[in-house]
Subunit: 410 residues, 2 copies
Amino acid sequence: MEHGKKILMIVMDGLGDRAVKSLDYRTPLQCARKPNLDWFASNGTSGIMDVIAPGIRPGSDTSHLALLGYDPYKVYTGRGPFEAAGVGLVGKAGDVAFRCNFATVDSRFNVLDRRAGRIKEPDTTELAKALDGMNIGDIKVVVREATEHRAVLMLQGRDLSPRVSDADPHALTTVQTSRPLGPDAARTSEAVNEFVRRSYEVLNDHPVNERRASEGLLPANILLPRGAGVFPDIQPFPERYEMSASGVAGVSLIRGICRVCGLEVIEPPGCTGGMDTDMEAKTCAALKELDRKDFVLMNVKASDVTSHDGDPSRKIETIERLDGMARIIRKDMPEGTVVALMADHCTPVELGDHSGDPVPLTIYTENSIKDGTMSYDEVSCARGALGRIRGMDLMPILLDKADRAEKFGA
Amino acid sequence: MEHGKKILMIVMDGLGDRAVKSLDYRTPLQCARKPNLDWFASNGTSGIMDVIAPGIRPGSDTSHLALLGYDPYKVYTGRGPFEAAGVGLVGKAGDVAFRCNFATVDSRFNVLDRRAGRIKEPDTTELAKALDGMNIGDIKVVVREATEHRAVLMLQGRDLSPRVSDADPHALTTVQTSRPLGPDAARTSEAVNEFVRRSYEVLNDHPVNERRASEGLLPANILLPRGAGVFPDIQPFPERYEMSASGVAGVSLIRGICRVCGLEVIEPPGCTGGMDTDMEAKTCAALKELDRKDFVLMNVKASDVTSHDGDPSRKIETIERLDGMARIIRKDMPEGTVVALMADHCTPVELGDHSGDPVPLTIYTENSIKDGTMSYDEVSCARGALGRIRGMDLMPILLDKADRAEKFGA
């Protein structure tokens, strides 16, 4: 099978839900008008999927790793490296990365503001540059600004460990001393503590902060790392599956996951990862990408945003916008494409956070067995012919549907 | 539970399929008239089964190992030993076996014909005898003729490895030097290369080839090994499950799997493994075997043959013949038998090769829960009460249905 079919993986973030009292105990998907999503269910094969494992509440990071076929229990040690990759900083296997906040502290390292007066670019850009390139012993320090008051820190060197506690106190109290949480982690936690001390030295008198003080703004005089994780040693997706691959995502974290896994990241204009995202432009960009690649992952964040907000009627509206996306895919997808519709996790509106419920899944391609599922929702899909699978099973199934799988045996 | 029920495992090779365009997007099973297969579905409990794992495309060898409860990832290193056992040559654990072709080469070992002018018995019998019993250092060589131009080679000795490349070039080019593909495999690859050289010395001037030359036929002057595998160290099926067991199969490879697993192989006359097989005679032989054994596996190859041919209407005809088999089983099975109907893998007619789709499964015994499944097909079974299971789960389930399972705990 030299030329398999193309694969389009559509991840509708946080889409699945529970029975909502104000919706007469139906789910938002059961209430929304969504003829195009339902067309895929009617012409494809459906099921439900435990993205990590039954009852496990996935993050958007661990879920996307599983959906791409990488075992999050093996490759995920913390969010740091994926946030770093989200802003374009992709380390080597073994490099340890952290999410950071620019914060304001007094001279005794009491945190006065965890967001340094909601500092943002271009101030953060200049302050990150002042810290970037520092050396701590033989450990090299890389710092990049991220969105708003955030930054990422990467430590490069031998024998680093992600098993260290946060310097960020997550509250208005004293900066924490990073502690080793596992064997051989002392070298890393000491580097973190040294970095935090020196960030204060470098930043406290920095011209940007002097200017901010003169403007009555809080200084960003320290960088507080949290969420340590190690860049995993993984076989890049294109090599592992023998497919060229792109990721289309508005959210930085998802872009980071894609980059670490070796997907090319496409950033179409207007694709924000928020409610104001131009879903049509994004869908067209994903389809255009599918012309030149074998595999495209597209993440749409809006459904998760409205779910966290907790308003079922806004979630229903978002689903109806997602149906517009499905209409474009249905109309314009290349012939013979395998389309997989899913969520990365449920985000029940009444919970306002991720849950461990299985997500609805539909896999469509022309020769999918038609299983009588008429609606793309949590209940209808659960009766479909795919049964209940796990996130880690998805890639093997899609490769098989796309006639790209190797035979095991004769 | 001293006396459990008897178990009849019916494997309809390559039976499952996908939605076929020319069948209005139904599967051949959905189109065939098969009242007896449907009777089992209506009176049994159905589900779908990933014979290896979701999306994994099984060979007929790896699939049958899994169906018998042996993890193919542990016991399968290559097809050689199962082909050898197929022609009656069952080695000890650690012996390494190969499939071989009698071929024609020139004096510089360029392959002129990979099938030596389609040589067959009795010529191959005599040539195999000439090679059998050779010693390469302290390694003992066993050679047996197989069907048509084929043979099997077994190496017996200490520290042999199946991780060696093929000497067979699989094309009309020079005979390949077998290379070690893993640590400690050099001893084996050197033995293979020595065997190939000596096979030429023994065969080139053999009287059979002199006679063939005088008749204008190509000489079979070399034996080319491929598909190395090691005889696994497994607990024989009858011992493992405390059941006497037989396998009824027309195909040599499946007979080999049964023999390696310790099943007695029954070869009823007229049971060819092809389209011309006498399905009724085979079914009667399997039922007769069930009179004296606890467990009988019956493999019917015809459904796979028509699937590889790619003609949906011929596959439908074959299914209707399989229904005749089901009629006999329904009528004549011993009271209290557990009957399991399944495929070993799907072979979609439009693909013409094995796929990784789950296979339909029905388990019937008098006290099976009746789950409302009315038809034995991919879609109906997927809605059945067995849900989606794996091939390795089948034997424990059948043992339990047969009231033969050990209790775990008190």
